[in-house]
Symmetry: C2
Subunit: 255 residues, 2 copies
């Protein structure tokens, strides 16, 4: 284990730059914080380049079989590297997963995200897609960065569990249709109550931006527009809550 | 309209103290930010004591019929008073609603929140309870503060739409049972798949803390433990997402 004491250490300075999207994309790496996320990353075969622990942090010995460089830093430097108020004593530099778009198959279940902007919402949606057993998530243009620290934390590790691919959603819709998948768009206008949707085996569900919803052009290419009934006085549901309700409703007969 | 220029102004100093729970409880007031929340407060008959606008903010003239004091402040002071990164130019001091616990009735629909700690989650849950047309929400001990700025913003105004009452949940469970309402607790152990729950007219649903779930003692007093099936690899769902899925599942036949 190598030790870093100075905040002008070149490696430390490089890792701190991973707080920005620009540097994450340039390097193809991102930070993950806390033992739980690191455990999930290792279990799923994600590649860790560096693991940085606070002095006295007790590292899980089984992790030492992995091929990463191990560093220790004083609490003061851990605080600088961390993006949370209460650092958990361990942070890793993780390589971005190489995801192919070639995951669409007959009777597959996919979520298409059209411009969800809040990283916390995006992370929670990915966690929900994982719980609902989907086969993949596609992130359209204007969607929050998957590797933003807040997004990563909100996934609770689910970003390591299923393919998540940046994509042109119009192309994805076409490919889903070519595989006979119904493409469902969420919309309050000209839409059917989700409970009246036909039973489907596979599907592609499009969820839209927090304020603007799904883009008109994507709605037009959809097979069906669906909505969640509002029984009370709220104008709408939070987008991650809506995603959960719809994904479970569409799979009401899944065993 | 009165104008405040100095940050040592006594009223301004008092309003800033409302960022703390202690001062909110002492005064029985809380802050709401932005035109949308103020509109919802007025529409629902909540009492505003003061409305503070940034210089040049164009106030909705119909609001001026309300009996509040109107103040203007420079952008610098609005920034101090605001709890958001991008203040929306208007903040109000609102009186807490006086909620009676006497809202339980036959065939009513209630949500009991047992120790949800994150204010964003609590606010989103209240917005979801409103969307799902519930008759009331009870906040048990250890639950985040309803009047925390983050909670209030996350409700998107729903806190003005339905009764929300701090309560002893054991007592509430007893009263629900006395009204023949089934009391459903969420639990991963000894629980039935939510899709196999009997059809119910009214119900009380208990949702628990983000980490620990519903307290054992409340589970024991419940009529039935239910769970959401996990089809993928996530360990659990976010509590607001889970609330949405369950509330809509329990009302699958509501018209």
């Amino acid at each position: 284990m190598k030790h870093i004491e100075s905040e002008s250490n070149a490696s430390l300075k490089q890792w701190k730059k991973l707080h920005t999207k620009k540097e994450r994309e340039k390097s193809g790496t991102f930070l993950i914080e806390g033992p739980h996320l690191i455990e999930e990353a290792i279990a799923s075969g994600a590649k860790l380049q560096h693991v940085i622990v606070e002095e006295n942090f007790e590292i899980n010995e089984t992790w030492l079989k992995e091929k990463f460089s191990l560093w220790s830093v004083p609490a003061k430097l851990m605080k600088q590297l961390s993006e949370t108020e209460k650092p958990q004593g361990i942070i890793a530099v993780c390589e971005m997963m190489d995801q192919s778009e070639e995951i669409i198959k007959k009777e597959g279940r996919y979520l298409l995200i059209d411009g969800v902007q809040d990283p916390g919402n995006l992370g929670t949606i990915i966690r929900t897609a994982d719980s609902a057993g989907l086969d993949g998530v596609f992130l359209g243009e204007g969607t929050a960065d998957l590797y933003n620290g807040k997004t990563v934390r909100s996934t609770q590790g689910s970003l390591f569990h299923l393919p998540i691919v940046k994509a042109n959603l119009l192309e994805i819709i076409e490919r889903c249709k070519a595989h006979d998948l119904p493409v469902l768009s969420t919309s309050l206008q000209n839409s059917v109550d989700m409970r009246e949707t036909p039973e489907v085996n596979g599907f592609a569900l499009i969820m839209g931006n927090e304020g603007a919803g799904v883009q008109e052009i994507l709605q037009q290419e959809s097979t069906l527009n669906v909505k969640i009934p509002i029984f009370g006085s709220a104008e709408s549901l939070n987008v991650s809550v809506a995603t959960g309700i719809l994904l479970y409703e569409l799979q009401r007969n899944r065993t």
